[in-house]
């Protein structure tokens, strides 16, 4: 899970993505970010015209949910803004909890002739950025991929050469875009490619990319996922990062000093902690194989020290239904003695309730680590399977009380 691309975190809202588009020279409609109905009304009052008011959320399906509305007067702007903000985004299959709406984008209403799709993503297998274009704009691209797979033209970019305009030209032809796109698409994709690397993106998507009645090509929506690991390059996004909704697990992880991808809760009663994502997953598998129900995924990371181990213990005990805790450490970069000290210290210092611990500790400095645990009256088990069985037994026993 932590290593999976599924948990890319730095997803930008539309208004943020469009700000990056603007900085990168990609045409976007005139717009104003607004927090309240009054903001919307004031903006529409000061800049007459036809405006679209859009909920700023990460979920898709805003249109169907009634979260995109039109306004041509200040009053209308205030009214539709109120309507949009009145209820959160309703749940769907991918987002079963829905999503709160905290802000709006007021945007020029475009006279659209037709719509297309374009994106840049990373292809792990090819080890290349891939640029994608389709003539089916405004639709969910997964749906397009299912129904019209041949309509998606892809270009795998050799990073030694980089982007050159022929790529956009070729994609426009291969995707059979309206000829109105031909002149502008190569430049827009070039800017998108530059933006991808400048801001350390994992995905940039324009859907729809509108062709207006005037013949302009404009990014009508913006979906940008930035790589957390590249944020050091763009300190200006730190503020934005904070405005994005963390889910509860991510908030808990962050508060405990863990990466937001390193912790996840499940409904079971066996708490787990391991070092390394692979081992953490294998630990969960081991608990499942032993007939237990896991309470959480927790990767303590590579350089676990005493304080961090204590924080993790408290996190699990206080936020999950764990009635026993399985600590599974195989030392490579993490030293067994440190982990042992952390466990001892955690149990000595913690003000949280105590639950039974099962400790499996091997690898680097394992002798020293075991000596420390033994001195503190704790006995580690020998293998992961043994530890999992013992933890399941203790958890079920404690839960049965």
């Amino acid at each position: 899970m932590p290593d999976s691309p599924n948990l890319a975190r730095m997803n930008l809202m539309e208004y943020q993505g469009k700000e990056l588009f603007r900085r990168s020279g990609i045409p976007v409609p005139r717009s104003q970010h607004a927090l309240t109905p009054e903001d919307v009304a004031a903006f529409v009052a000061s800049t007459p015209g036809e405006w679209v008011v859009k909920a700023q959320v990460l979920m898709g399906g805003r249109g169907k949910a009634g979260k995109i509305k039109f306004a041509t007067s200040a009053d209308e702007g205030r009214t539709v803004a109120r309507e949009i903000l009145a209820t959160p985004m309703p749940p769907n299959r991918q987002n079963p909890k829905g999503e709160p709406i905290n802000s709006l984008l007021v945007e020029e209403k475009l006279a659209i002739r037709t719509e297309a799709y374009c994106a840049i993503a990373i292809d792990r297998a090819a080890k290349k950025p891939v640029i994608m274009v389709s003539r089916f704009g405004g639709m969910d691209i997964e749906e397009v991929s299912e129904k019209h797979p041949e309509s998606i033209a892809k270009f795998y970019v050799d990073t030694a050469i980089g982007y050159s305009p022929f790529i956009g030209r070729e994609l426009a032809f291969r995707a059979q875009l309206d000829p109105g796109y031909r002149r502008q698409l190569p430049g827009i994709l070039g800017s998108l490619y530059e933006m991808f690397f400048r801001y350390g993106a994992k995905l940039v998507e324009i859907n729809p990319l509108a062709l207006t009645a005037d013949g302009d090509v404009v990014a009508s929506d913006a979906k940008v996922e930035l790589d957390d690991d590249a944020l050091f390059r763009t300190p200006e996004f730190k503020e934005w990062h904070k405005t994005l909704p963390l889910d509860e697990d991510e908030t808990l992880a962050s508060n405990a000093g863990l990466g937001i991808r390193n912790f996840r809760r499940f409904p079971g009663n066996v708490g787990t902690l391991a070092n390394g994502a692979g081992l953490a997953m294998a630990t969960m598998d081991a608990v499942s194989n032993a007939g237990g129900a896991i309470a959480n995924f927790l990767d303590v990371g590579g350089g676990a020290n005493a304080e961090r181990v204590r924080n993790c213990y408290e996190l699990v005990v206080n936020s999950t239904g764990a009635t026993a805790f399985f600590i599974n450490i195989f030392g490579g970069i993490t030293r067994g003695d440190e982990v042992a000290r952390g466990i001892v210290q955690a149990m000595a210092e913690t003000t949280s309730r105590k639950i039974p611990l099962v400790i499996r500790l091997t690898g680097t400095n394992e002798e020293e680590g075991r000596r420390i645990l033994a001195e503190a009256g704790m006995q580690p088990v020998e293998t992961m399977d043994e530890g999992a069985r013992e933890a399941v037994r203790l958890a079920n026993a404690a839960s049965a009380k």
Partner: protein
């Protein structure tokens, strides 16, 4: 024989005077790795605490020591630069331990540093037991032998190896390829190398959910390793599905490999998939017996 690394491979450490670099240099030396020097800009001419010469640049280190391998312990913002420097200096194999390297940095590095093999980033390194180790693997778990092992995970690797060693199945080379989306050396690269290594008689592939590297490995094995015993393991079988990346991600090759798809791929290639790490030694022994 082994792949990628043997006891004559001359190794330098980039970031040798940092805390992690220094600590693991000591361990690698203790394991017998031919570490011939290190690089820390501004400390050229000094000696590391291990008595090794420190150079300002990789180029200087290579010129003075003839190093062909490097182990990189530098913070994430500088990892790509360290790899470019190693490539420019003519290094043949670079192990990048660093976790948190930006993925777009790696797209550029992997797309341009032709001729240099990169292991990682975000990996524990590689070890040819009894000969040499580059990285952070705990050497005492390993034992020289004829099983080649490839893994995307760090600590899971040690877990699996520990089981092999306890079962008397020593290893030729174990490669931790790293878990990042863009890595230098894939399962298939390692399988190809193992295929050509006379010492390697059997292979363990430790994959996990996400990506399509396991599927590619299964396809390669089906075509090229029909005569070699191979066993696989997939971590995260019981992990509930992650959040969907949705949109573009889902329609790109390799971004959405489930445990089921990987297990099916291996089984279709005639490769047994262990349910738990502790099952691997038995499955491998059976497989080796069947091929003998």
């Amino acid at each position: 024989m082994s792949i990628y690394l043997d006891k004559n491979s001359k190794v330098i450490v980039q970031g040798i005077t940092g805390a992690e670099g220094s600590y693991h240099t000591e361990r690698m030396l203790a394991y017998g790795t031919a570490i011939v020097g290190g690089v820390t800009p501004g400390k050229g001419g000094q000696q590391s605490k291990h008595g090794l010469p420190v150079f300002d640049t990789v180029r200087d280190a290579v010129a003075a020591t003839g190093a062909t391998h490097t182990c990189i312990f530098v913070p994430p913002p500088f990892a790509a630069d360290a790899l470019f420097e190693a490539h420019d200096a003519g290094i043949e194999l670079a192990v990048c331990i660093t976790e948190g390297v930006p993925v777009d940095d790696m797209l550029k590095v992997v797309g341009t540093t032709h001729g240099m093999r990169i292991i990682g980033p975000n990996c524990p390194g590689l070890i040819s037991p009894g000969r040499a180790s580059i990285g952070i693997m705990p050497g005492h778990v390993f034992k020289e032998g004829n099983v080649g092992l490839i893994s995307r995970s760090g600590t899971l690797t040690y877990e699996v190896v520990d089981g092999l060693t306890r079962a008397g199945l020593g290893q030729s080379t174990c490669v931790g390829i790293g878990g990042d989306p863009i890595i230098g050396t894939t399962f298939v690269d390692c399988l190809r190398a193992f295929k050509n290594d006379p010492q390697t008689e059997a292979i363990v592939v430790c994959g996990e959910i996400g990506g399509s590297d396991e599927e590619d490995a299964a396809a390669f094995a089906a075509e090229h390793l029909r005569d070699v015993p191979v066993v696989a393991f997939i971590g995260g079988r019981n992990a509930p599905p992650g959040k969907s990346l949705g949109h573009a991600g889902a329609i790109i090759s390799g971004s959405f490999g489930t445990a089921a798809s990987k297990i099916a791929a291996f089984e279709a290639a005639g490769i047994p998939v262990a349910e738990r790490p502790s099952d691997i030694p038995r499955l491998l022994s059976e497989r080796m017996a069947a091929f003998a």
